[in-house]
């Protein structure tokens, strides 16, 4: 926290001492001032970006976990679908944005789809890794008690995979915001990505930085929201697992 404050004080001081022009690097106080002045504008566009990334993330959670389960349980799906998923990650996903705009127009849908497309992979991978890491003795124990495959999945495998799945969702949450912004860069009439383009074109550099601040806050908020849900639904021994196995690149 102290490091953060020191960073902003130093930034403020440097802009004053070297009289850096506001269109090169605005001082933190300039940025704050414009954020307060244009708060309703920022809020309006934030809401658009927030909905796009939240829907994209929600969609990726709802589809990725069952897909991960299918990949682990069906060797046929593992052999046919999984290679496609991995190969799809070789495509620079950001470069797909213009195509999505061509296919799905200028509204909410293409942004949601780009957010989804970027976010789903870490969740699938972490679900697969988490489910495969279940100690075989646990499965032997459950089978010997007469547990059905569904009982083994729900009572043991999903539970032991939960820390991995949450780690995947945390990565996905950050990715979803990036996806929504990229979509807005390509073609949009609202959203923080659109607002950045407008500010850039009008040389409103403090607003450009202000938008960046809002975006960062949104990414952090997503991360902590997922952490909060994890805290609320997972028993203590499963929380805060640091061994996050998946990972992906943009």
């Amino acid at each position: 926290m102290a490091a953060f404050i020191g960073f902003f004080v130093l930034w403020e001081a440097l802009t004053v001492v070297f009289s850096v022009p506001i269109y090169t690097l605005p001082a933190p106080t300039d940025i704050l001032a414009v954020m307060i002045e244009k708060r309703s504008l920022l809020l309006e566009h934030s809401w658009v970006t927030f909905s796009e990334s939240a829907i994209g993330l929600g969609l990726s959670i709802v589809l990725s976990i069952p897909l991960g389960i299918l990949i682990v349980y069906s060797s046929w799906i593992e052999r046919t679908v999984y290679p496609f998923l991995v190969a799809s990650q070789a495509i620079p996903k950001v470069a797909l944005a213009p195509i999505f705009v061509v296919w799905f127009g200028f509204g909410l849908l293409p942004k949601v789809l780009i957010a989804f497309f970027i976010a789903f992979f870490p969740i699938v991978v972490n679900t697969v890794v988490g489910l495969s890491r279940t100690p075989p003795e646990m499965i032997h124990l459950m089978r010997s008690l007469g547990a059905s495959p569904i009982q083994i999945l729900l009572r043991v495998r999903l539970m032991s995979a939960a820390p991995y799945i949450f780690a995947g969702i945390k990565i996905a949450a950050a990715f979803a915001v990036v996806g929504a912004i990229v979509g807005e860069f390509i073609a949009a009439s609202s959203g923080l990505g659109y607002l950045q383009l407008v500010a850039n074109n009008n040389f409103e550099i403090p607003l450009l930085f202000g938008t960046l601040v809002v975006l960062s806050v949104m990414g952090i908020a997503f991360f902590y929201l997922v952490s909060l849900v994890e805290f609320l639904i997972l028993p203590r021994p499963l929380r805060h697992s640091r061994d996050n196995a998946g990972g992906s690149t943009l």
């Binding site: 003795e137 032997h140 124990l141 008690l145 007469g146 028993p235």
Partner: protein, 263 residues
């Protein structure tokens, strides 16, 4: 649940000419080579052998978790076609579910088998009390010592009053003092001729102290070298470790291991 425990006498286990060969990517490992063994209902049988000899494989076959390459497993006179569900298993590692409290772990068999919970909970508390874990019911496994965790695992294996108890080197990972304490707990809790016990170990004294019968196995591929009957009454008292007969059997087994080049 405990009401019908008293009229239980365990079930018989008959293994005839069991062979087990594992194949992994071209390499074949023969674990068991013609094991025939009859364990009468209610007997405590220790299988003693060097590490890696295939003793654990034998336990998995009796549990029905593995299918033998050849030979048959009869439990209670019937050939096994699937897992044998009327059994409790204790593995070398405790295999407690880390996200469940001690009580919930002990209650797992009741949850899976959908047994009436009030009776199961009462029985679980009784077992937890008998192994000295009272006060730790709401603790998570990672808050317990290795010995305490293995005690909880033992309670879980006994909760549903199984007619067969299978134990795979359950005390192998514990320190010497805890191990001796657990052996006493087990003889008081588990045996008393209510159930048939198959106890895998590589510790000669442990096998002789606990079991009615000790089956000594060779190195892999495992065959049965010899079978010893131990006549001390159950439950075993700690004093039998000082009896001359106890030492005679231990020495005989040690001699057998020397003869076959294991020791």
């Amino acid at each position: 649940m405990s009401s019908h425990a008293s009229d239980r006498r365990g079930v018989s286990i008959n293994l005839s000419d069991l062979h087990m060969t594992f194949e992994r990517k071209g390499s074949r490992v023969e674990a068991l080579s013609g094991i025939s063994l009859d364990i009468d209902a209610g007997r405590f049988c220790s299988v003693l052998g060097p590490s890696g000899c295939g003793k654990s494989t034998l336990l998995m076959l009796v549990a029905g978790l593995y299918r033998p390459t050849a030979g048959t497993v009869l439990v209670d006179g019937a050939p096994l076609t699937d897992c044998y569900h009327d059994c409790g298993i204790v593995f070398q590692i405790d295999v407690l579910l880390p996200w469940l409290s001690v009580l919930d772990n002990v209650l797992l068999p009741a949850q899976v088998k959908r047994l009436p919970m009030p009776q199961a909970t009462a029985r679980a508390r009784e077992l937890i009390d008998q192994v000295g874990l009272t006060g730790f019911e709401t603790h998570f496994p990672d808050e317990l010592s290795g010995g305490m965790r293995q005690r909880a695992a033992l309670c879980r294996a006994l909760l549903h009053e199984p007619s067969v108890l299978l134990m795979d080197e359950p005390f192998g990972a514990l320190d010497a003092l805890t191990r001796e304490r657990m052996q006493l707990d087990l003889t008081q809790l588990g045996s008393t001729d209510q159930r048939t016990v198959l106890f895998i170990t590589h510790d000669i004294e442990e096998a002789v102290f606990l079991a009615d019968e000790v089956v000594v196995m060779s190195q892999r591929p495992a065959k049965i070298l010899q079978r010893f009957t131990i006549d001390f009454p159950q439950p075993r008292a700690p004093e039998i470790r000082r009896e001359p007969d106890f030492h005679r059997i231990v020495d005989d087994i040690r001699a057998l291991f020397r003869e076959s080049g294991i020791l």
